[in-house]
C-alpha cells in the first residue's frame, strides 16, 4: 500500500497551484460578488490541457487518469469553487457520456472539441418536477423521419448559457419508466433550444446555471446517444463518476477553510496571545484537519478505483457524502474561528461557507448518496 502520489501527480498539483496563484485567486472574489462567469480562466484551462484530462489523446484529451483530474478540481476549488465546478461539469457530465456511450463519429464531432476546450459542455437531466426522481421527467423525444423532436423544459442546468453542446435526457417511451428515458446530443444554436433565465444562486455564483427549454427542437436521428431507452443508465453512470468530481470540489473548499483558519488563528491576537494558542481553537482546527484528510482519502480512493477499472459507485457516493458534509461543517467552523470578520463579504471563509452547501445537493443529494451506499450493502 502506497499513500504517496506519483511525481506526475505532485507536479500536476504544483502546476494547478501556480495557475491559481496567477489567474484564479486574483479574480475569485470578483467572480463571486458581481457575479460573473470567468470566461478568461476557462480559456486558460484549455491551454493547460485540463478540459479533457482522463480522455484519450486521440479525442483531444490529455490521456491522463482520473486521479489527475480529481487533483485539478480539488486545487481549482480550493481557490475558486466556481472554476472547479465549471471544469467538473464539463469533464464529467458532458464528456463522460460521449466518451463512454458515443459512436466514433459522435466522439470525433463532439468529444474532441470539448476536450480541446473549443467549447464547453452541459448536461440537462433535472426538471422542475423531476429532480432525484428522474423517471418523473416530462420532456419528450419523438422520432419524426430522420429527426428527433424534443419538447419540454429543464432546470438548474449548469454551464448551459455558455455550452456548445448539451446532453439532454428525454422520455422516448413514458410507459417504460426509467427504461423509457433516452439521451440526446443537442448542439447550441439548434432551433427550438432556448436558454432561460440565469438563476441567482447562494454560492458558486460565477457558475452559470439556467433553465433550458425545448420547443419542437429538431436534432438529427444520429444524435441519439447510446441506444433508445439507455438514458437512465447513461445518466446514472455519468453521475457516479461526477460524484468523485464533486467530492474533489468539496475537498478543495474544505481544505481552503482549513488553510484560512490556520492562518487566521496564528495572526489574530486576543488576551495577548494568538487565538491558535487556545484549546477551543486548536480542537476546531484538529477536527477540521482530520475530516479534510479523511475526505481526501475517500475521494482519492474512489478515483483510484475508477482508474483501476474496479467498481466505484459506492466509493464515489461515500466520497461525495463525506466530503460534501465535511465542506459544509468545516466552512461553518472556519467562520467560527474568524468570528465577526468571517461574516463579512469579501472574507474568503464567507464565500466558502456559501459555496460548500451545493456540494451536498447537486449530482445526487446526501440522502441519495446514503441510498446508493446502503443499496450496495443490503443488496
Amino acid at each position: 500500500m502506497d499513500f504517496n502520489l506519483t511525481e506526475e501527480h505532485q507536479l500536476i498539483r504544483q502546476s494547478v497551484r501556480e495557475f491559481c496563484d496567477r489567474y484564479v485567486c486574483p479574480i475569485a472574489d470578483e467572480v463571486d460578488q458581481e457575479p460573473r462567469f470567468p470566461a478568461e480562466t476557462v480559456k486558460k484551462l484549455a491551454e493547460q490541457d485540463w478540459l479533457g484530462i482522463p480522455y484519450p489523446v486521440e479525442y483531444g484529451g490529455a490521456g491522463s487518469d482520473y486521479l489527475s483530474y480529481v487533483i485539478v478540481v480539488e486545487e481549482l476549488s480550493r481557490a475558486c469553487a466556481t472554476t472547479g465546478f465549471t471544469l467538473e461539469c464539463h469533464s464529467c457530465l458532458a464528456e463522460f457520456p460521449l466518451f463512454k456511450f458515443g459512436t466514433e463519429e459522435q466522439k470525433k464531432k463532439y468529444l474532441t472539441p470539448l476536450c480541446k476546450g473549443e467549447m464547453l459542455g452541459s448536461f440537462a437531466l433535472t426538471e422542475p418536477g423531476a429532480g432525484t426522481d428522474a423517471a418523473a421527467g416530462t420532456t419528450t423525444a419523438v422520432l419524426d423521419g430522420n429527426e428527433w423532436v424534443l419538447n419540454g423544459s429543464k432546470i438548474f442546468i449548469s454551464n448551459a448559457p455558455v455550452a456548445g453542446v448539451i446532453i439532454v435526457f428525454a422520455m422516448t417511451d413514458k410507459s417504460k419508466g426509467t427504461k423509457g428515458i433516452s439521451a440526446f446530443i443537442v448542439p447550441a444554436g439548434t432551433p427550438g433550444l432556448e436558454i432561460g433565465r440565469h438563476l441567482n444562486k447562494m454560492g458558486i455564483r460565477g457558475s452559470l446555471t439556467a433553465e433550458v427549454y425545448l420547443k419542437d427542437c429538431r436534432i438529427p436521428k444520429e444524435n441519439l446517444l447510446g441506444g433508445e431507452g439507455q438514458g437512465f443508465k447513461i445518466a446514472m453512470m455519468t453521475l457516479d463518476g461526477g460524484r468523485i468530481g464533486i467530492a474533489a470540489q468539496a475537498l478543495g473548499i474544505a481544505q481552503a477553510a482549513l488553510d484560512e483558519s490556520i492562518k487566521y488563528s496564528k495572526e489574530r491576537v486576543q488576551f495577548g496571545k494568538p487565538i491558535g494558542t487556545f484549546q477551543a481553537i486548536q480542537w476546531m482546527i484538529a477536527n477540521m484537519a482530520t475530516e479534510v484528510q479523511a475526505s481526501r482519502f475517500l475521494t482519492y480512493h474512489a478515483a483510484w478505483c475508477y482508474d483501476q477499472g474496479l467498481p466505484y459507485s459506492s466509493q464515489a457516493a461515500m466520497a461525495k457524502l463525506f466530503a460534501s458534509e465535511t465542506a459544509t461543517r468545516q466552512t461553518d467552523r472556519a467562520i467560527q474561528v474568524h468570528g465577526g470578520i468571517g461574516y463579512i463579504k469579501g472574507t474568503k471563509v464567507e464565500r466558502l461557507y456559501r459555496d460548500a452547501k451545493i456540494t451536498e445537493i447537486y449530482e445526487g443529494t446526501s440522502e441519495v448518496m446514503r441510498m446508493v451506499i446502503a443499496g450496495g450493502l443490503l443488496r
Binding site: 504544483q14 495557475f19 496567477r22
Partner: protein, 257 residues
C-alpha cells in the same frame, strides 16, 4: 540553431520554513523543495529562444541524489533533456564549488552556444555562480539582463541590462553566459501534457566523482538565524493632528519623501 544550457538549483520552499521563536533557528524538516524561482526565468528564457531559433535546451543542476524530483519538474517546463550532477555532498556547496562543478560538466559533456542562469538562488542568493561559471569557461558574461534576443546569423546575443542608473544595451559573441532578471519573462505553467511528457525526456546522470576532485569549501557558516524586525510601536491619535504627526514621523524616518 542554438544549443542552450539553463542552470537551475533545487531549493527549500521558503513558504515551508519554520522559525523557532526562542532561538530564531530555521526549521526545514517539513519543508518541500522546488526549483529556485529565479532559475525558472532562466529555463523559460532558454525555451523561448529555442522556440524562436531552433536548437536544443538542456537543464543542468548540481544537487544531492535526493533532489531527483527536480528533473521532471524542470523538464516539464520545456527543456529537451536534463543533466543531473549529483552527490550527497552537493547539498551544501558554496557558489565557487558549484561554479567549478558546472564548468567541468558543461565543458566536458556539452556543446553550447548560450548558458543562462537566474539572478541568484532562492536560498542563499549569493549571485555568484553565473559570473564565476563564465570566468571558468572563459566566455563573456552579461548580468542584470531583462531583455534578450539573438542574431543567429551573426552568432551574437543582444541583451538589455537593467542597471541602477539606466538601461544598457550590449552585444556579445556566442558562446556567452547570460544572467537574467525575474522581469525578463513570466515562466510558463507546465500543461498536463508537458508534465506527462517529462518522463519521456532523457536525463544524463553525472556522478561528482566523474568530474574529478572539487576543492574544499572556503567559507564556514557558523550560524543561520531568522532576521527580526524591531517594531517601534508608536501610536498616533486618530484625528487630524495624529495624521500630521504620522506623516511627519514617516518623513523623518525616510520612509516617504
Amino acid at each position: 540553431m542554438l544549443n542552450i544550457v539553463a542552470c537551475f538549483k533545487w531549493v527549500v520552499d521558503d513558504a515551508d520554513i519554520r522559525v523557532d521563536t526562542g532561538s530564531r533557528k530555521l526549521n526545514v524538516d517539513k519543508a518541500a523543495y522546488k526549483i529556485s524561482a529565479y532559475d525558472r526565468n532562466a529555463i523559460e528564457e532558454a525555451v523561448i529562444l529555442q522556440e524562436k531559433h531552433g536548437g536544443r535546451v538542456v537543464a543542468v543542476t548540481v544537487a544531492p541524489p535526493g533532489a531527483k524530483p527536480c528533473l521532471k519538474d524542470s523538464l516539464s517546463r520545456g527543456p529537451d533533456s536534463a543533466c543531473f550532477i549529483n552527490d550527497p555532498c552537493c547539498a551544501d556547496l558554496e557558489p565557487s564549488q558549484t561554479a567549478q562543478i558546472l564548468a567541468r560538466a558543461i565543458s566536458s559533456k556539452m556543446d553550447y552556444d548560450l548558458i543562462i542562469c537566474g539572478e541568484g538562488s532562492g536560498d542563499i542568493y549569493a549571485q555568484q555562480v553565473g559570473p564565476a561559471l563564465a570566468e571558468r569557461l572563459g566566455i563573456p558574461c552579461l548580468t542584470w539582463v531583462n531583455k534578450l534576443s539573438c542574431n543567429v546569423d551573426e552568432r551574437r546575443i543582444i541583451a538589455e541590462r537593467k542597471l541602477e542608473d539606466g538601461v544598457e544595451v550590449v552585444s556579445a559573441p556566442l558562446p556567452v553566459l547570460v544572467v537574467v532578471l525575474p522581469d525578463i519573462n513570466a515562466p510558463r505553467i507546465p500543461s498536463l501534457k508537458q508534465v506527462l511528457g517529462a518522463a519521456k525526456k532523457p536525463v544524463e546522470n553525472v556522478l561528482l566523482e566523474d568530474l574529478g576532485s572539487i576543492p574544499g569549501a572556503r567559507l564556514l557558516t557558523t550560524d543561520v538565524v531568522a532576521a527580526t524586525m524591531d517594531r517601534r510601536r508608536i501610536k498616533f491619535p486618530a484625528d487630524a493632528d495624529g495624521v500630521r504627526e504620522a506623516v511627519n514621523a514617516l518623513l523623518r524616518e525616510g520612509v516617504v519623501s
